[in-house]
């Protein structure tokens, strides 16, 4: 049975039109994977000697175990945003003579093979080797290694439990933030010292291998809980029945002031508000607004002026990047209809453009309080906002014409929790890094003002040539019309 599943997966992956189109992206992903593997290897081999130097009077193994708590928290956060439960289109399988439990076991088993579970091995195994080299007993090192591997798997399954609960909620990040926040809070305010608790637990297991049964039991518990969750979801009616929500229509007549693009604006706003997946990009926008708080409060970053535009682009452009890169795939479900209707492509695209510009403007206004950390930040954010409006928005629209992957907004697939993955963030990187490099170079050579002026100048150039650029972009869309219709009418 498993053999059939793997066969199906293989075909689904390689026969999708997406694969053939995005070879470059796949290569980029591999490159990133290699990068992280190298970083983890260095960490694995280097951690022990480094700790010895920094804390000469402490046992480095004990210190390392103290960090495990933080590593776990970061691991959970990363997984939540980047790892997806392997979606298998289960609907056709339900009527076939396959046991439901087999399907669920397969999905869960496949998730254990995720890159997120292999990556830590590149740090864990070298670290264990280093332990043995540094005269720790072999049994301690090996037990520690196996415990870590089990904990990685616990993280894997815990993440899906959290995601399952998040999927039910409007504000999908809430459970995770509460979970991580509570644990971190308990530790930070010294109520329960999670760091030493967890550290001691690991030390205890390493010294008494018999205690390894405890993490194994937790893993089994997480797995069986996941199993139960998924098995309950694996009925057709739970996806078909779907609560029929009453429509609450908001008054969107204010869009009329945008003239002939008003119908599209209204459609886009409804699109964003009425679909789970698009709605999450609104929440991401609000969370992105807080991104600056990671950097600006720390004096170390306050002197790194060259970083400001990067943060500015990220903060003011997060919606633009999130929403923009799926233009026009958001409308893929009814793209055929749009193409046979009496519409002007340019109006359709301009509506998306205005939406992105509005989002940048709104977030910029909301981010003004960052001025508390220095006026340069405000100026840099302003330049970044102009750059986003003039340059990045057009790039996003242009890039959209290469979009060949359908987004099924109506989909209520049992396992489709988030639908967005690592790829999404990687696409955004060049958009943020390019202006940062431009600014950093100019800042170093000619000073802050020149860098800012050039960014603003680039943005204004984009705005001035808006009409011309839009004409070019529209032509691109017209040229790839048939290809897009064809790709959007395929599933997967």
């Amino acid at each position: 049975m498993i053999k059939h599943f793997i066969n199906l997966e293989w075909k689904q992956y390689f026969r999708s039109s997406y694969w053939q189109k995005s070879l470059g992206l796949n290569i980029l992903l591999v490159f990133f994977a290699l990068y992280f593997i190298v970083v983890f290897l260095i960490l694995g081999f280097g951690l022990l000697p480094i700790l010895k130097k920094v804390f000469p009077d402490q046992d480095p193994f004990v210190v390392a175990n103290g960090f495990i708590f933080f590593w776990l928290m970061i691991d959970l956060l990363m997984r939540f945003f980047l790892q997806k439960l392997p979606v298998m289109s289960v609907k056709p399988l339900l009527t076939l003579p396959i046991k439901r439990s087999t399907v669920v076991h397969y999905v869960l088993g496949k998730s254990a093979l995720s890159f997120f579970n292999f990556l830590p091995l590149f740090a864990i195994i070298p670290f264990s080797i280093m332990l043995i080299v540094n005269d720790y007993s072999t049994s301690t090192a090996l037990t520690w290694m196996f415990t870590m591997i089990i904990v990685v798997l616990i993280g894997n399954f815990l993440n899906f439990i959290i995601e399952a609960f998040s999927a039910e909620l409007e504000f999908s990040f809430l459970p995770l933030i509460i979970f991580v926040g509570t644990l971190y809070g308990l530790d930070a305010f010294g109520i329960v010292s999670m760091t030493s608790l967890l550290g001691d637990a690991f030390l205890g297991i390493a010294n008494n291998p018999i205690f390894i049964l405890i993490p194994i039991a937790i893993l089994a518990l997480c797995y069986s809980f996941n199993f139960k969750l998924l098995k309950d979801k694996l009925f057709l009616d739970s996806s078909l029945k779907s609560k029929v929500t009453e429509v609450k229509a908001a008054d969107l007549s204010w869009t009329k002031r945008f003239g002939d693009i008003a119908p599209f604006m209204q459609l886009d706003l409804k699109l964003i508000w009425r679909n789970k997946r698009t709605k999450s990009s609104v929440w991401i926008m609000l969370i992105g607004l807080l991104y600056g708080m990671f950097f600006y409060p720390q004096p170390m970053y306050r002197d790194m002026v060259w970083l400001f535009p990067f943060i500015g682009i990220f903060v003011t452009g997060i919606f633009l990047i999130n929403f923009g890169q799926f233009i026009p795939a958001w409308d893929s479900g009814y793209y055929k209809m749009l193409m046979s209707q009496n519409i002007k492509y340019e109006q359709y695209l301009r509506s998306k453009f205005i939406l992105m510009v509005l989002s940048v403007a709104i977030i910029f206004v909301l981010s003004i309080p960052y001025v508390y950390f220095g006026w340069k930040i405000l100026v840099a954010h302003f330049a970044a906002a102009i750059y986003n409006i003039g340059v990045n928005s057009h790039i996003m629209l242009y890039g959209g014409s290469f979009n060949r992957k359908k987004i099924d907004l109506n989909q209520r697939a049992a396992f489709n929790y988030q639908g967005t993955g690592a790829v999404q963030w990687i696409i955004g990187l060049p958009l943020m890094i390019l202006p940062m490099i431009i600014f950093a170079v100019l800042n170093a050579l000619f000073g802050f003002e020149t860098g800012i002026i050039v960014l603003i100048f680039l943005g204004i150039a984009g705005i001035v040539f808006h009409k011309k650029l839009m004409r070019m972009i529209t032509q691109r869309y017209l040229d790839s019309k048939y290809k897009m219709i064809d790709a959007f009418s395929q599933d997967n």
Binding site: V244, V247, P263, Q266, S340, Q341, L409, Y482
Partner: protein, 240 residues
Amino acid sequence: MIYTKDISKAYNGTTVLKIDELNIPKGQSFGLVGNNGAGKTTYFSLLLDLIKPTTGSISNGEIIVDQSEDWKPYTSSFIDESFLIGYLTPEEYFYFIGDLRGQNKADIDALTSKFEDFFNGEIIGKKKYLRDLSKGNQKKAGIVAALIGNPEVIILDEPFANLDPTTQIRLKQILKDLAEKQGVTVLISSHDLMHVTDVCERIVVLEKGEIIKDLETNPATLKELEAHFAGNLESVQEEE
């Protein structure tokens, strides 16, 4: 109104549609029948410029469809559920289509009120999203949306499929009225020979992408069509 010349569509060298000449005059109700894979949907997709012809061209009111978009204002269509926007209510969807076709809300309300019978009280004012409607009700909404804005050409692919018997009969009346009283050119495809002969003045039979029959509907047409498709069956059995 619609003139097809030398059109063909091939995928990887396999020809799925090949029509030398087909002229559909204004105000005709035109039916397309054929087994699966005969090329009905391909023809409609070509007519709506959703796929590119391999050779030849179709013109709709003197306008060649893959060279200009000026045929769109007077042409409307409903091919399948992918023409619907799932996260809108039926009313919102009608208003949206109305906006695109230069109709205001009052026009739309006037139009939909004429179809109260047809909707059977299940579409308007239910505060449900289109994606939550049943297949049949989705189809009803899609068909009515294709009537918005007084189009001169209406293209419906398999309009009778998924509809309940009462609605099928009502739809037939609507389609007849469109062609007879309002001079609209109606193009439909169907697997139901009886419905097609009821509604259409002219029926074209496609087989493996080619026109093999072009009939003016008369009382004997249904028998002739049935004999034709049953004949297919016999010849297949003989081959076996």
